[in-house]
C-alpha cells in the first residue's frame, strides 16, 4: 500500500515541476518528488511482522524476521543529498530574486 502513496507523491512532484512557474514552488515540488522516492525506498525494505534489524540481548537469533536494513541506509544518504540540493536551490533562488526582483519565471523576461 505504501508504494502507491509513494508513487502518488512522485507524480504530484512531477506535476508541480511541470505546472508551477514560481521558483520556490518548484523547489517544493522537487522536495515532494524526493520524499516520494525516499518513501518508495523505505517501502521496498518492509516485511510484514518484521522487527527492527538490530541484534540485542533479547533479539539475538538469526531466525527472527527482520525488516531489510539496506533501504533504510540508502534512504538516509538520499535524504542528506536531497537536503544539500534543496539548500543549493534556495541559495540560487535568492540570487535570482536579487537579479530579477521576482520569483516568477514568466516575469523574468528571459528564457
Amino acid at each position: 500500500m505504501l508504494q502507491y502513496a509513494a508513487i502518488v507523491l512522485i507524480m504530484l512532484g512531477l506535476y508541480g515541476l511541470l505546472t508551477q512557474r514560481n521558483i520556490i514552488k518548484i523547489i517544493i515540488s522537487l522536495n515532494i518528488l524526493e520524499i516520494g522516492v525516499n518513501l518508495f525506498i523505505v517501502s521496498v525494505g518492509f516485511v510484514t511482522d518484521g522487527i527492527a534489524p538490530i541484534f540485542t540481548s533479547v533479539n539475538n537469533s538469526s531466525n527472527l524476521l527482520f525488516v531489510d536494513p539496506l533501504p533504510q541506509a540508502l534512504v538516509l544518504t538520499a535524504i542528506v543529498i536531497g537536503v544539500g540540493t534543496t539548500a543549493l536551490g534556495l541559495a540560487l533562488a535568492k540570487n535570482i530574486y536579487q537579479k530579477y526582483g521576482t520569483f516568477d519565471i514568466n516575469e523574468m523576461g528571459e528564457e
Partner: protein, 462 residues
C-alpha cells in the same frame, strides 16, 4: 598505491582548503596534477571498502576501461584548472569536490554509490556554473539534474527490490540467472537511462544545456562540455554494456535508439542553424553525446572509448578558444568574431584541427574512430545507422567549414583577442595529439580490440 586515494585526497583537500583560502588554488593545482601522475602507479585491482566483500559491500573497480577514463578525465581536468585557477580562485574548493566526484563516477562498481557520485559531481557542477552569472540557467540545470538522478534512484531501487543486490556485476549475474523477462527489467532500465541521459545531454532531457553552455565562460565551457561529458560517457558505457544489454526488451531498444538518433539529428540541425560560436559547439556536443551512447549500445566498447576521448579533447580545444574570445569581447556572434584567427594563427590552427577531427576528416583522430565505427556497423549488416551518421557528419562538415572560413578570413576591423602562452601551449599540444593518433593508428586499434574483449565479470575484468 590504491585507487581510493583518487577520491579521498581531493575530498580531504577540499575540506582543508576551506581553512586556508589563500592556498586553495595551489592545493587544487597540486592535487589535480598529482592525480594524473599517481595513476601511473596504480595497479589494476578491485578495492573492497570497509572489509565487506562484494556484493555486500561497495567495491571500486580499476580495470583497463576505468583506467583510460581516469587518465582522460584527470588530465583534461588538470588542464582546465591550470588555465583557470588564477581567475576563478573562489571555485577551488568546489573544483576539488567535483574532481572527487568524477573519479568516483569512473571507479565505482556499485549502483547506489554511482548515484551518490552523480549527485556529488552534479552539485559541484551546479556550483561551478554559477560563475556564468546566469542564476536562472543554473537553477534549470539543478532542477533537471535532480529530477534525473531521482529517476535513476527510483530505477535502481526497483532493480534492488527485484534482484536483491546493488553491485553492478552481481546484478548482471542475478538478472542472467533469474531468467527475468526482458519486459520486467525494461521499466527500471528506462528510468536509469533517463536519469543518466539528463547529465549526458540526450535530446528530450537536455533543456539545461543551452542556458549553461550557451553563456559559458573559460571555466564552465571546457569543464562541462569536455570533462563532465567524458565522465558521463564512460559511466554510460559501463552501465549499457554491463547491465542494460544483458536483458533488454525490444521496445526499450527501439525507444533508446530513437532518443539517440533524435539527439544526433536534431543536434546537428540546430548547430547548422546557429549563429553563435558557443551555440554551434554546444549543439554539436549534444550530437556527439548521442553518437557515444549509440556506439556503446551496439557493443563497440573500444571505439566508444576512443570516440569519447576524441570528443573530449576536441571539445576542450574548441570551447577554450571560443570561450576565451567571448570572455574578452563580450559576445560570441560569429559575425563579430570574424577574422579572429588572422592575428592568432597558432590558436587558429589548433581550433581548425579540433573541428576537422570532430567532423571526421582523414589524418585526425576523429576520422579513425568514425571510420572504424562505420566499418563495424556495416559488417553487422546495419545500413540505417551508418547512413544517419554519414549524413549528419556531412552537415557537421558544412557548418564547421563555414565557421572556420568566417573565423580565418577578414581584411580589416579584426577583433582584438590576445591568447596567453599557457593557453596556446595547451591547445597546440592537444591538437598535435589529435593529429599524431590520427596518423599513427596502430596503438589505438590494438587498445580498442583489447577493450572490446573486456567482459564485466564480478569485480571487473583485470
Amino acid at each position: 598505491m590504491s585507487a581510493i586515494l583518487l577520491i579521498v585526497v581531493p575530498l580531504l583537500t577540499a575540506f582543508i582548503s576551506i581553512l586556508f583560502k589563500k592556498a586553495a588554488p595551489y592545493m587544487l593545482l597540486i592535487v589535480s596534477f598529482a592525480s594524473v601522475v599517481a595513476l601511473g602507479y596504480m595497479p589494476l585491482e578491485v578495492i573492497t571498502i570497509g572489509g565487506f566483500n562484494a556484493p555486500y559491500g561497495i567495491n571500486l573497480i580499476l580495470d583497463s576501461y576505468s583506467l583510460i577514463g581516469l587518465y582522460i578525465v584527470n588530465s583534461l581536468f588538470f588542464l582546465v584548472v591550470a588555465l583557470n585557477c588564477v581567475k576563478y580562485k573562489k571555485m577551488s574548493t568546489i573544483l576539488l569536490v567535483s574532481l572527487a566526484g568524477l573519479n568516483g563516477l569512473l571507479l565505482t562498481g556499485d549502483l547506489f554509490n554511482l548515484f551518490v557520485f552523480i549527485e556529488v559531481s552534479g552539485i559541484a557542477a551546479y556550483l561551478i556554473t554559477t560563475t556564468n552569472k546566469k542564476p536562472l540557467a543554473t537553477f534549470n540545470y539543478l532542477v533537471a539534474g535532480t529530477v534525473g538522478s531521482s529517476l535513476y534512484l527510483l530505477g535502481l531501487i526497483i532493480l534492488y527490490a527485484m534482484f536483491g543486490t546493488l553491485n553492478m556485476a552481481d546484478m548482471a549475474n542475478e538478472i542472467a540467472i533469474s531468467g527475468a523477462s526482458a519486459s520486467a527489467t525494461a521499466f527500471p532500465f528506462l528510468l536509469m537511462f533517463i536519469g543518466l541521459g539528463v547529465e549526458a545531454k540526450l535530446l528530450p532531457l537536455n533543456s539545461w544545456t543551452k542556458g549553461i553552455l550557451g553563456s559559458s565562460n573559460k571555466l564552465t565551457g571546457p569543464i562541462i562540455a569536455a570533462v563532465y561529458a567524458a565522465a558521463i560517457g564512460f559511466v554510460f558505457g559501463r552501465l549499457i554494456t554491463d547491465l542494460f544489454l544483458i536483458n533488454i526488451s525490444e521496445v526499450l531498444e527501439i525507444v533508446i535508439i530513437i532518443i539517440v538518433i533524435a539527439s544526433i539529428v536534431a543536434g546537428e540541425a540546430m548547430a547548422f542553424s546557429s549563429k553563435k560560436v558557443r551555440d554551434i559547439l554546444l549543439f554539436s556536443s549534444i550530437a556527439q553525446a548521442g553518437l557515444v551512447v549509440l556506439v556503446f549500445f551496439y557493443g563497440f566498447v573500444g571505439w566508444g572509448v576512443f570516440l569519447i576521448i576524441a570528443n573530449a579533447a576536441g571539445k576542450f580545444i574548441l570551447f577554450v578558444v571560443a570561450n576565451h574570445a567571448s570572455d574578452e569581447l563580450g559576445t560570441d556572434e560569429v559575425s563579430s568574431l570574424q577574422g579572429l584567427f588572422v592575428n592568432n594563427k597558432v590558436v587558429g590552427v589548433a581550433f581548425t584541427v579540433a573541428s576537422l577531427s570532430a567532423m571526421g576528416m582523414p589524418l585526425f583522430l576523429g576520422f579513425v574512430v568514425k571510420m572504424n565505427i562505420l566499418g563495424d556497423l556495416f559488417s553487422e549488416g546495419n545500413l540505417l545507422i551508418p547512413g544517419i551518421i554519414l549524413v549528419t557528419s556531412l552537415v557537421e562538415g558544412i557548418y564547421f567549414v563555414r565557421l572556420l572560413i568566417k573565423l580565418w578570413y577578414k581584411e580589416d576591423n579584426l577583433p582584438e583577442v590576445k591568447y596567453d602562452f599557457t593557453l596556446k601551449y595547451v591547445v597546440v599540444v592537444l591538437a598535435l595529439l589529435l593529429m599524431v593518433f590520427g596518423v599513427y593508428t596502430a596503438p589505438i586499434e590494438n587498445e580498442a580490440d583489447n577493450l572490446n574483449t573486456i567482459s564485466f565479470v564480478e569485480g571487473g575484468d583485470l
